[in-house]
């Protein structure tokens, strides 16, 4: 199997890739998990040394090994920083896939990925049932889009804040519609955009329509598969890739656009790998024509054309949070700032200290909740220093994490997807 340009089919190849790590320590400068724990097993060079020992049969499987392999955000900061170009993210994913094959994945990860994979098939029912369950189990937090569990469940006892499911999923609302006229843009909705924050999907559609595109929303699209891939369920990820590939190609769209930095990274970079040689054309289509909303808008349209459609949210001091996937995999970080500069009366206050992960990490938030909370706590301290009225981001995972962080630390901000800010939809 080829991953990230590496041939990982033979043990000797895997060892070869692992041996490329020279333990220089540069990864320690950027790893958010290492920042919190100061532990070698929690940073790339430590994990790589464990995997190397494991491959060479100097280390045998243990619960600790499994936990350390799972304790990674897959943010790819280390890969970005590694002068030797060691693909620690792909290697860790590969190790997770091996563990999964051996039945050695934590049950939280398995439940989470199975749930997301199943979403496609039971979309409508799940949305309604989930929403009902939440109404019973949770109380709505004032002035927030999250919920707090009414009582602590034994399993989720550390977590008291959960994102609120929408009453109706986005796909149920717009299913199969073709809107507008012009270049055909397929909208990849994603799980959060579908079940939790349909208003964001609406905003994305509106922006695309206003800027002169035809928006196609294939009804049968499913979870992008990032969660499955991240937990090592490569087969499920491949199945989802194949399904989504067919769905979007059949729709005849010219571009596939997603407003979630994680989904768009998965569609653009992982999906082509998962589709592989047999689906060469489909793979090429996604690697070239699947784009993050921000990259798409700034590439296809001139600033003046975009500016015409934007609405000011009123005088607003705002900070933007860079999703790791957008920064590290797609080098998209100038684009959101260019777009924000076009919105009247928005003051962009940069957060201090350089790039700082929010700590969500998808499954990481499930399997390492406490660490995830600590990482966002550090982020919130940065935000507090700057004192904006609102936060914006362009990844759904980051969005949920920042909302929880905002609530947990009592910062009293509003947290939005960037597209909502562009359309002036900022609640005071």
């Amino acid at each position: 199997m080829f991953l990230g340009g590496m041939n990982l089919s033979a043990p000797s190849e895997i060892i070869h890739e692992l041996e490329r790590c020279s333990r220089c320590g540069s990864c320690m400068a950027v790893c958010p998990v290492y920042r919190e724990t100061g532990e070698e097993g929690m940073v790339a060079r430590g994990k790589l040394s464990l995997m190397e020992a494991h491959q060479k049969e100097e280390l045998f499987h243990s619960r600790k090994f499994q936990e350390l392999i799972e304790a990674c955000l897959l943010c790819s900061g280390c890969v970005n920083h590694c002068a030797n170009g060691v693909r620690a993210d792909d290697l860790i994913q590969w190790q997770r896939s091996r563990l999964r094959q051996q039945g050695r994945t934590s049950w939280t990860a398995r439940v989470a990925t199975n749930f997301l994979e199943a979403t496609g098939r039971w979309s409508r029912l799940l949305g309604q049932a989930g929403s009902l369950a939440q109404a019973l189990l949770c109380k709505k937090l004032p002035a927030d889009s999250g919920l707090q569990l009414r009582f602590s469940l034994p399993v989720l006892s550390q977590r008291s804040y959960v994102p609120k499911l929408s009453d109706t999923s986005f796909l149920a609302m717009v299913s199969g519609q073709r809107l507008g006229s012009g270049t055909k843009v397929g909208l990849f909705v994603g799980c959060v955009g579908n079940y939790i924050a349909p208003q964001i999907s609406e905003a994305i559609v509106e922006l695309l329509l206003r800027t002169g595109f035809q928006v196609i929303i294939p009804a049968d699209q499913r979870c992008c598969g990032m969660a499955a891939w991240a937990s090592g369920d490569t087969a499920a990820a491949a199945a989802l890739a194949e399904h989504n590939s067919r769905t979007f190609l059949e729709s005849g769209c010219r571009w596939v656009v997603s407003g979630c930095g994680t989904c768009s990274t998965h569609l653009r970079i992982r999906m082509p790998e998962l589709l592989g040689e047999p689906a060469h054309d489909a793979a090429r289509f996604f690697s070239q024509h699947a784009l993050d909303l921000l990259a798409f808008i700034t590439r296809e349209l001139r600033p003046e054309r975009i500016r015409r459609e934007l609405k000011s949210p009123g005088p607003l001091k705002l900070s933007y949070h860079d999703p790791c996937h957008l920064r590290y995999h797609q080098a998209v970080f100038k684009e959101p700032r260019q777009l924000l500069a076009l919105v009247p009366r928005v003051e962009l206050a940069e957060l201090p200290g350089g790039h700082q992960c929010c700590g969500h990490g998808g499954l990481f938030n499930v399997s390492n909740y406490r660490l995830s909370t600590r990482i966002v706590g550090r982020k919130m301290a940065q935000v507090k220093q700057v004192g904006p009225e609102a936060l914006a981001t362009s990844c759904m995972g980051c969005l949920l994490q920042l909302q929880e962080g905002n609530w947990r630390h009592g910062l009293g901000l509003t947290v939005h997807h960037l597209v909502e800010v562009l359309l002036g939809r900022v609640t005071a």
Partner: protein
């Protein structure tokens, strides 16, 4: 091997979670940035000085070896558990205890990351100058143990010049306070300066009292491009002797430039024979004058061109490129032998010519870059450790490099320390009586020899084992 009751004793001090004997932890705490690998018997994470004292007492009584570790980013093997024992991971002792802007003093625990300390004091308008290239992840404790340097050492000196006091645990488990909290003091023997650079072999540091400076008003960075390293070297000497006081004066040879460009693509001129990266700081008017003076001088010495970084971002990008040289070299070959020789500044062109000759004779890739201003050259030999012939040629080359360095009146290590990688060669520089005097000090401080064994000084019987580890294959 540690007896079970010893492990129980450690657990009693630090708690279950902070005393590890899992194979995973033994692997993770058995390497450092040299990529040499050993296996400790246990890893403990003390929370504070009290726990550390208790651990050292236990080590003294049992006895067992103690190996203090900061970030494990050392280049000479200082934190490797070469004889097993207990790795003392100091990552939990990571608090900046105080910053006193009026008296320009900061007190920090050893696990504080150097870059974090710099950022914290900078936010208060203060300046902690020592800037090793690994500052984003290395620790103050490690810096103190090796007397770490960095580009700014030229004007500002090294770690030793900023440590005015220490709190440390002796091998007996007794806590000792050295030095002062004032700008000056000479009371009794200067234990502070003895401990700085002692590489964890005389005491374990629990607190560092650091002297700070006010932030300079202004900084400028220049990049001078030369066709030949000899011309760059001559320029270096003239810049210093003419009193133009740069705060940093770094050089990169042709190959290092190309490696960094392959890695970062920042726009450094690939075709250059050598680059000088120069920083000037101080009062604004002085900085402008000195920068101009340096530019004129470099052009007079044959520089093709001299660029002045226009913005802070542009300057930072240049320094990022310089810091990235060391990791960038791995593009050439997967493994590295890194030496850190220092020669009198005026002899840089000679030593570099000699290094090139040694590289040719032994068919090795040798790159040079580093602190031209103080004659401290990072010599990097990029090899493949899985090639025994290349390893053996490297061993010969290293010997010749050290001999050439000594012949020019130089020293084996400017800032990395001896650790184990230079231990077999210590005799080239220190004479018999010097070694004997050092040994007596070691015996006085650590009679049982429990602190960081196998470092700096090797017994005759240990020499062979270390040489074998260095030169006989990656996993020997």
């Amino acid at each position: 091997m540690l007896a079970r009751e010893t492990v129980r004793g450690l657990v009693k001090i630090v708690g279950h979670r902070n005393c590890r004997t899992d194979p995973e932890d033994l692997i993770c705490y058995g390497y450092d940035a040299t990529d040499l690998r050993y296996t400790p018997d246990a890893v403990v994470f003390p929370a504070d000085a009290d726990e550390l004292v208790a651990i050292v007492r236990l080590a003294n009584e049992t006895p067992f070896y103690l190996i203090p570790r900061g970030a494990g980013s050392g280049m000479s093997g200082g934190s490797l558990p070469v004889k097993g024992g207990v790795v003392l991971a100091l990552s939990r002792m990571d608090r900046i205890l105080s910053v006193d802007p009026e008296n320009l003093v900061a007190v920090a625990e050893p696990g504080v990351v150097t870059g974090h300390l710099q950022a914290e004091v900078a936010s208060q308008g203060l300046f902690y100058p020592p800037d090793p290239a690994s500052l984003a992840f290395c620790t103050i404790g490690g810096n103190v143990a090796t007397c770490a340097g960095g580009a700014r050492a030229l004007k500002y000196g090294v770690t030793k010049d900023y440590v005015i006091g220490l709190e440390a645990v002796l091998a007996s488990g007794e806590l000792v306070h050295t030095g002062v909290q004032t700008a000056k003091g000479v009371v009794g023997y200067d234990l502070t300066k003895l401990l700085v650079g002692s590489e964890g072999t005389l005491a374990i540091i629990t607190k560092v009292v650091l002297k700070l400076l006010p932030q300079p008003e202004s900084r400028r960075t220049l990049l001078a491009v030369f066709d030949r390293l000899g011309e760059a070297g001559a320029a270096v000497t003239r810049i210093i002797t003419m009193g133009l006081r740069p705060s940093a004066l770094e050089f990169m040879d042709k190959r290092s430039i190309q490696c960094v460009e392959d890695y970062l693509n920042t726009g450094l001129p690939r075709e250059a024979g050598a680059l000088l990266l120069i920083e000037v700081d101080g009062v604004r008017e002085g900085v402008i004058r000195h920068a101009e003076g340096i530019r004129t001088l470099c052009l007079g010495q044959g520089a093709r061109r001299v660029d002045l970084a226009e913005t802070e971002e542009a300057a930072e990008a240049l320094w990022q490129a310089r810091r990235a040289v060391s990791p960038a070299l791995f593009k050439l070959n997967p493994h590295k032998v890194s030496e850190d020789i220092t020669v009198p500044r005026s002899r840089i062109p000679e030593i570099v010519a000699k290094l090139e000759e040694i590289g040719r004779n032994h068919r090795l890739i040798i790159l040079c870059f580093g602190h031209a201003g103080d004659g401290n050259i990072h010599v990097n030999i990029m090899i493949n450790r899985n090639d025994p012939d290349e390893l053996s040629r490297t061993e010969q080359a290293v010997n010749e490099i050290f001999q050439a360095t000594m012949a020019l009146g130089g020293t084996l290590s400017g800032e990395h320390g001896i650790g184990i990688t230079k231990a077999p060669y210590l005799g080239m520089e220190i004479d018999k009586m010097g070694l004997e005097a050092m040994r007596r000090i070691k015996e006085a401080f650590d009679p049982k020899g429990i602190l960081n064994p196998g470092k700096i000084f090797l017994e005759a019987y240990e020499q062979a084992a270390v040489l074998s580890k260095l030169w006989k294959g990656r996993y020997a």
